[in-house]
Symmetry: C2
Subunit: 226 residues, 2 copies
DNA sequence: TGCCGACTTGCACTGAGTGTCACCCCACGG
DNA sequence: CCGTGGGGTGACACTCAGTGCAAGTCGGCA
């Protein structure tokens, strides 16, 4: 709902600016309170009060307490779709997907601090993790469909698009988790590329040749470091 | 909580039998009501009433409304751990994992109807899906740790155990979803084996040689190894 | 039989999430 | 410049998930 506002009629009137300001205020209030006191101790009344709106208004902006922290998911999915659709048609599905994923990983780097804050909150809030995973499953469906189209197969019959989408996004998730666990210090696209190399080349290969990963990593500069 | 009861002291007294009967009654009542009316329309009062216990008692058996339908997750994880631990030490991590996963897939076949019912409910209940995914993330951690141990590496440093666990379980999930979407008609272990073949051999290979999957499947017949 | 402890239950309470209605005020047309 | 329609807001009431507590019930065991 909130991200659809941008392409509406009176898109720069006082009303719209006020909307955006309120949304940002709620989000900021929520993040700060969660970080200070913990997700489940903070009530929606607290958040609303801090943002100077009513409790009822909070729910006009966010569907749930969890969604305040996950409001970026639709945006990221849109980016992923766009990036994937933007790849040349002749490009093999896997290559296109890799480029799209790496492009998205670039976004993460730019929001490092915000993501670190959120990760800290999420680490001790199972319900938040659950919702986040549910969002990511939507990505899977979208990616599976797009991969299937590129391959020219029916995703409800052929297992491969689904496996490609699920395992690729799962690897992205692992890479991001590792990145966050190390305070966002390694170069994320490098980590992601490592994970994708492992997948694309075959887990079998990756595990058998123990030096495969590191050998490949050296070719892409500024690796994990530390 | 509920699955720990089984290895307690008075394990076959009247009390314990009554416990199991109540748990089963609650689960059955819940599933039927959910199927009849829909997950979010059914209240816990409804379930408790149908099982002839108080609302308060419901929460002593299940932590949440969602958990009634997901009570098998801990059991499955235990099976997976056990199956994986039971593989010979010298076996490569990936082979051991494959056998463990296929062994678990055998369980699914035996509970076909129950899983189909649940899938139907889950399809229209996002919160349920979310919780289920959260459970599966716990599997990931467990599998990643065990794979890391077999590989003799530190899972917090080396990306590979995490990627192997996440992508393998994601593929399992895709295979199960496809199985359920087709009314549990295909042989599940076969579907799962296909998905794992695709992963292990490399997504690149799998997508390039279009016939690779089917060809390879024929070579590993009863790979289920139960 | 009588005690101990596990299990159950009713009750009260917090907090998430939703529907409704009156009110306010920006946007827009006259 | 003014009236008005409609989007945004707030107050209120309500349902329901989930939890703490204290009293009651009943099986296991001596």
């Amino acid at each position: 709902m909130s991200e659809r506002r941008s392409d509406q009629v009176g898109r720069d009137g006082l009303r719209e600016r006020h909307r955006l300001r309120t949304e940002a205020a709620l989000e900021q209030a929520a993040v700060r309170l969660f970080a200070e006191r913990g997700f489940d101790v903070v009530t929606i009344d607290d958040i609303a009060a801090r943002a100077d709106v009513s409790r009822r208004t909070f729910f006009r902006y966010f569907a749930s307490k969890e969604d305040v922290l996950l409001s970026d998911h639709p945006r990221r999915l849109a980016h992923l779709r766009h990036a994937l659709a933007g790849r040349p048609e002749v490009e093999p599905a896997l290559t296109a997907l890799r480029h799209a994923i790496l492009s998205m990983a670039g976004d993460y780097e730019e929001e490092r601090q915000r993501l670190l804050d959120r990760a800290r909150i999420m680490a001790e809030t199972p319900s938040l993790h659950a919702r986040s995973l549910a969002h990511q499953r939507l990505w899977e469906e979208a990616v599976a469909d797009m991969v299937a189209e590129r391959m020219g197969v029916d995703p409800t019959v052929d297992l491969r698009p689904g496996v490609v989408a699920a395992s690729t996004l799962a690897s992205l998730r692992v890479a991001v988790a590792a990145w966050l666990a190390r305070d966002g210090r390694p170069h994320l696209p490098t980590l992601v590329a490592e994970a994708l190399d492992l997948l694309d080349g075959g887990l079998e290969q990756g595990l058998t040749r123990l030096s495969a990963l590191r050998g490949r990593r050296r070719q892409s500069p500024g690796a994990t470091g530390r």
